[in-house]
């Protein structure tokens, strides 16, 4: 097991290095690229600009700013939001993490569960009509941009059928349904297609044939014996899936007016609120890197060939 611990330790160190590099790069990007965070820059007089700079600490030398930035970043303090005047970025974002996390988790769970079932059924009935439908659904899910889906869902279920509220987040569980579904389409399509490929390979393997020779029904063979083998590689796409959930959340939160990080991010982009942009960038990166680390650990735990050592015959 100590091998495993060393492996985890190595990954944690990488994670920290990565985050350090990411934050430094973000900082440099922000400071060296042309353009400023102020709107209507041309209209500002020099004096006004000086005052603004002083206010936001932009008049200090680069290195000093870097140190301030990094020390703040470690504590989660990214200074004051340019958009909202006096509010610290930290508190703005802190309120918004909850809804985003809830939305993301719900979408991930819904998407992967349905996707796994779809993919398995498609593989079992490979090349038949059912497979065609399942695969087509997965492709449509992947191809239609999630904002189109979101708008469609909104139109159909909220406006015409009036089953769900159009927007807002806080009206109980029902209001979370539409955005969750909209966001879950992408992970659903990805997992369905992935599981289908894996299951097709698994269903052709020798141990599955042995399981059939034991007299098991095809459903049992697929779900009890086959799936546990196909699920393991699925863990490897959880990382990229989180990324698409993050990008997807930007639009979904906007369309459904959900008070989450994604909505704020888009607003910050519009208003060039660069301290918030930096903060959100770091937040997303940290989240992603952590997820990747967790995925690696999870993979090691779930695959018995890694978890339990090699042969000791």
């Amino acid at each position: 097991m100590s091998n495993f611990f060393r492996f985890i330790l190595k990954r944690v160190v990488y994670m920290l290095i990565t985050l350090f590099l990411i934050s430094s790069c973000t900082f440099l990007l922000m400071n060296f690229l042309p353009g400023t965070p102020y709107n209507n820059e041309a209209k500002l007089t020099n004096k006004q600009r000086e005052i603004m700079n002083k206010r936001y600490g932009l008049n200090k030398p680069l290195v000093k700013r870097y140190i301030i930035y990094m020390s703040g970043a470690v504590r989660g303090d990214f200074g004051i939001s340019l958009q909202f005047g006096d509010q610290p970025v930290k508190s703005i974002l802190a309120k918004r993490i909850g809804p985003s996390l809830q939305l993301g988790a719900q979408a991930m769970i819904l998407g992967t569960t349905v996707g796994i079932i779809l993919g398995t059924v498609a593989a079992m009935f490979q090349n038949s009509f059912i497979d065609g439908i399942a695969s087509l659904s997965a492709i449509i899910g992947r191809s239609v941009p999630n904002f189109v889906f979101a708008v469609l869902l909104q139109l159909l279920f909220a406006v015409y059928l009036k089953w769900f509220p159009i927007a807002l987040w806080n009206e109980g569980f029902l209001s979370t349904v539409l955005p969750t579904v909209a966001l879950s389409i992408s992970p659903m399509a990805d997992s369905a297609r992935f599981i289908r490929t894996e299951m097709i390979e698994v269903l052709n393997s020798d141990y599955i044939e042995l399981a059939r020779a034991k007299g098991m029904s095809e459903w049992r063979v697929a779900f009890k014996h086959g799936l546990r083998n196909a699920l393991i590689p699925l863990i490897t796409i959880l990382g990229p899936m989180s990324v698409s959930l993050m990008t997807g959340s930007l639009v979904v939160e906007n369309i459904f007016a959900i008070p989450g990080i994604g909505e704020q991010f888009v607003k910050s982009i519009m208003t060039n609120d660069y301290s918030t942009i930096m903060a959100v960038t770091m937040l997303y990166s940290t989240l992603l890197v952590t997820i990747i680390l967790l995925v690696d650990i999870l993979y090691g735990i779930v695959d018995p060939r890694i978890r339990v050592g090699g042969g000791e015959y």
């Binding site: 990488y14 994670m15 290095i17 990565t18 985050l19 590099l21 990411i22 790069c25 973000t26 990007l29 922000m30 690229l33 042309p34 353009g35 490979q126 065609g132 695969s135 087509l136 492709i139 449509i140 992947r142 191809s143 239609v144 941009p145 904002f147 189109v148 708008v151 139109l155 297609r193 097709i200 390979e201 052709n204 990324v243 993050m246 990008t247 930007l250 639009v251 906007n254 888009v266 982009i269 519009m270 060039n272 942009i277 960038t281 997303y284 990166s285 992603l288 890197v289 990747i292």
Partner: protein, 351 residues
């Protein structure tokens, strides 16, 4: 133990119609085609093409895509109206297709529950038709969709090409060299992939003026990671195969082996991966433009059209439906084709 029955007596009457003359040794020439292989031999691409043809969805997609591409090429020189020409008196008109008298496509729109002919209200001449309607500035949506699709396709193809180039080289070098070079390159890759690419692109685009070139550069510089990974994985697999060993023992240089042996064997994977990258790029650009970071007005791309359409969706749904349909069709056909190609080139797929 039974008595051995004398074989010659028992079987005397079997098959008596066969002439005795047949019971002579067979002519030597009968054995000549021992080594004949019955099935026709096919090259890798021929086999892939044959298998692709069996996949109806992929074939239909291919046809549709070719159609779209042809239309787009033609649209460089001809569109029904000028996509950028504003004509405010003709603003916000619903679609009117001549000879089609379905409400919603004949110039009528529902206002306060009643169908009203907006073309009449705006005094539009009878021979002027806007097949997809017009937007808030009176610009013909059909022309804008054609132009927008063209730009989206261009951006996607260019970005895909870029990331193909970088990705293949990176992956091939990393996988082929192996050892410490590979380890370092992989570490770099891991660190780079720790940043959501969206974030990188957004950051870049915030500070560089967005335009066709900068979007292509931004997407190309961040999208190569998957291709690099896939190419590296396949290179590692191929490296261990015996034909590489055989080439080496024949004295071929490392570079030569990499380029003339490994690369062609990667072609299947590369084709498939590229076919997947293009719709990703289209989607990405549309996404960026939709949230306002990509192309900006008045330039038309599918994303900006969707953005504009979304703003007035409740009142002028056609402004969003048409670009949405366009992007969906393109994405679906590309993905179906890519799926079909992947199945066609995968040796493990059951035939």
């Amino acid at each position: 133990m039974d008595e051995l029955i004398d074989k010659k007596d028992e079987n005397k009457n079997l098959y008596s119609e066969i002439p005795s003359s047949y019971f002579t040794p067979l002519d030597e020439t009968y054995h000549f085609d021992n080594e004949r292989i019955a099935a026709p031999s096919l090259s890798f691409y021929q086999d892939g093409w044959r298998r692709l043809r069996k996949n109806k969805a992929a074939v239909v997609s291919m046809v549709i895509l070719l159609l779209i591409i042809s239309i787009e090429i033609v649209s460089i020189w001809y569109t029904p109206h000028d996509p950028n020409l504003q004509n405010v008196p003709h603003a916000n008109l619903p679609p009117r297709i001549p000879h089609v008298n379905i409400n919603g496509f004949n110039g009528k729109a529902k206002i306060s529950g009643e169908w009203v002919d907006k073309y009449e209200l705006a005094h539009v001449p009878h021979d002027v038709n806007y097949y997809f309607g017009t937007d808030a500035f009176g610009r013909d949506l059909l022309s804008r969709v054609l132009a927008g699709t063209r730009i989206s396709l261009l951006i996607a193809l260019a970005a895909a090409f870029f990331d193909l180039l970088i990705g293949i080289t990176y992956g091939l070098v990393s996988g082929w060299k192996g050892g410490s070079v590979d380890i370092i390159m992989q570490r770099i890759l891991e660190i780079i992939s720790g940043i959501p690419t969206l974030v990188v692109v957004i950051l870049m685009l915030l500070f560089i003026r967005p335009g066709v070139t900068s979007i292509i550069v931004a997407m190309g510089l961040t999208g190569w990671i998957t291709m690099a990974r896939v190419v590296r994985a396949e290179t590692l697999k191929l490296k261990d195969q015996e034909f590489v060993l055989a080439a080496r023992t024949l004295g071929e240089s490392s570079l030569n082996i990499a380029v003339s042996h490994i690369l062609p064997n990667l072609s299947g994977i590369i084709i498939v991966q590229t076919m997947f990258t293009i719709p990703s790029a289209i989607f990405f650009e549309a996404f960026l433009s939709f949230i306002g970071v990509g192309m900006r007005a008045p330039n038309a791309s599918l994303g900006t059209l969707l953005n504009e359409g979304y703003k007035t969706f409740r009142f002028l749904p056609h402004l969003m439906w048409f670009p949405a349909a366009a992007i969906c069709i393109i994405m679906i056909t590309f993905n179906l084709l890519a799926d079909g190609l992947r199945d066609a080139f995968d040796p493990k797929m059951k035939d």
